[in-house]
């Protein structure tokens, strides 16, 4: 590695430290949840190492735990993670000219809300070494946190394990409650999603709908209503990202 490549890599690493620390704690909650749902430590870590996304992984766990279909799993991942396409599109304008097809394919694996936010916040174009640094530490944090959470889930006494099962929901609440407080559009979207989710769960007519599809239906209805009645300002990816941090 040349010295400029090394320094780019190191700058990426440095910028990613807060992300990695955040991921460590969120994925701890995911690890606990995974073993509470009957997965092995190995399976939980494998999911985190290959997916690197919180909402998609939790939805995936739901589908696995309810023995849902593969098509259901695919559609759930597609809908929940579709926003990454938008970030990829936006980021494609920001990569420097030395990106090859292969390096584009490698870097795309690591696009998350937070990593995208940091990369797109840079004033200059970003290099592949910078992106490699920016992605690797959060990936380690995400995988390690899952390992620790899953291992803790297997060792801890029942009562404590049960209490920690609520941790990942606490993080979700910490994301959507402040955002809903700030923007009325987000508030309405969350209320619609929650109402739809409760309807699908408690109204007997809908009992045939599996949990994975229920998440998809709620998401599409609520996000479409938000886009229709509270459209966000156009071409402001930075502004969009402010609230987008769900990991």
């Amino acid at each position: 590695m040349s010295s400029s490549a090394r320094s780019s890599f190191m700058r990426g690493l440095k910028d990613s430290i807060p992300i990695a620390l955040g991921y460590l704690s969120v994925s701890f909650g995911f690890g606990i949840m995974a073993v509470n749902n009957g997965l092995s430590v190995f399976a939980a870590v494998l999911i985190s190492m290959t997916n690197l996304t919180s909402a998609g992984q939790v939805a995936g766990l739901t589908v696995i735990a309810s023995n849902g279909g593969m098509f259901e799993m695919a559609i759930a991942q597609l809908v929940i993670n579709l926003r990454y396409s938008l970030m990829s599109l936006s980021l494609s304008q920001k990569l420097d000219s030395r990106f090859t097809r292969l390096s584009r394919m490698a870097v795309s694996f690591g696009i998350t809300d937070e990593i995208f936010a940091v990369a797109s916040g840079k004033s200059e174009e970003v290099s592949k070494h910078y992106m490699a640094g920016l992605i690797s530490l959060p990936w380690v944090g995400w995988s390690l946190g899952t390992l620790l959470g899953a291992a803790a889930g297997e060792l801890l006494p029942e009562k404590l394990k049960a209490a920690l099962g609520i941790a990942i929901y606490g993080m979700f609440i910490a994301i959507f409650v402040p955002a809903a407080r700030k923007a009325v559009g987000v508030l309405i979207v969350v209320i619609i999603a929650v109402a739809a989710s409760c309807c699908l769960r408690y109204i007997p007519l809908f009992s045939g709908i599996s949990e994975g599809f229920a998440i998809i239906i709620c998401t599409v209805i609520a996000a479409a209503a938000g886009a229709l009645f509270f459209p966000v300002a156009q071409d402001k990816p930075d502004e969009q990202q402010e609230g987008g941090g769900e990991q």
């Binding site: 399976a43 795309s108 809300d113 609440i173 994301i175 979207v189 996000a223 769900e246």
Partner: protein
């Protein structure tokens, strides 16, 4: 690990990767539709809301401790505490409720 679980993980990882990779590799155009932009902006909040409620009330296997955890999480989140603080406080409240329930 069963073959079915491995298949689930492959589908998860495969779809998630393609969603991230294809636009970066293939398309170079920006999305102009305001509706699509707004829709994608709202997706995370819709997903998190739908996945959290009512599931959070069953997360501890005991409705009382789950309500305690949820209430504490909601209040701290409302006042802008960090993810980790909210998550730990929710777990602590749920644990305290479980222990307290054992005394009565």
């Amino acid at each position: 690990m069963t073959l079915r679980l491995l298949a689930y993980i492959l589908v998860m990882a495969g779809v998630t990767y393609l969603v991230r990779m294809l636009p970066l590799l293939v398309f170079r155009r920006k999305i102009r539709s305001r509706f699509v932009q707004s829709f994608l902006y709202y997706v995370p909040y819709a997903v998190l809301g739908a996945m959290t409620i009512p599931a959070v009330f069953y997360a501890t296997g005991n409705m009382t401790s789950a309500i305690a955890g949820f209430t504490v999480a909601f209040i701290l989140a409302y006042f802008g505490r960090s993810l980790t603080v909210v998550a730990l406080a929710a777990s602590a409240a749920a644990f305290a409720a479980e222990v307290a329930a054992g005394w009565f």
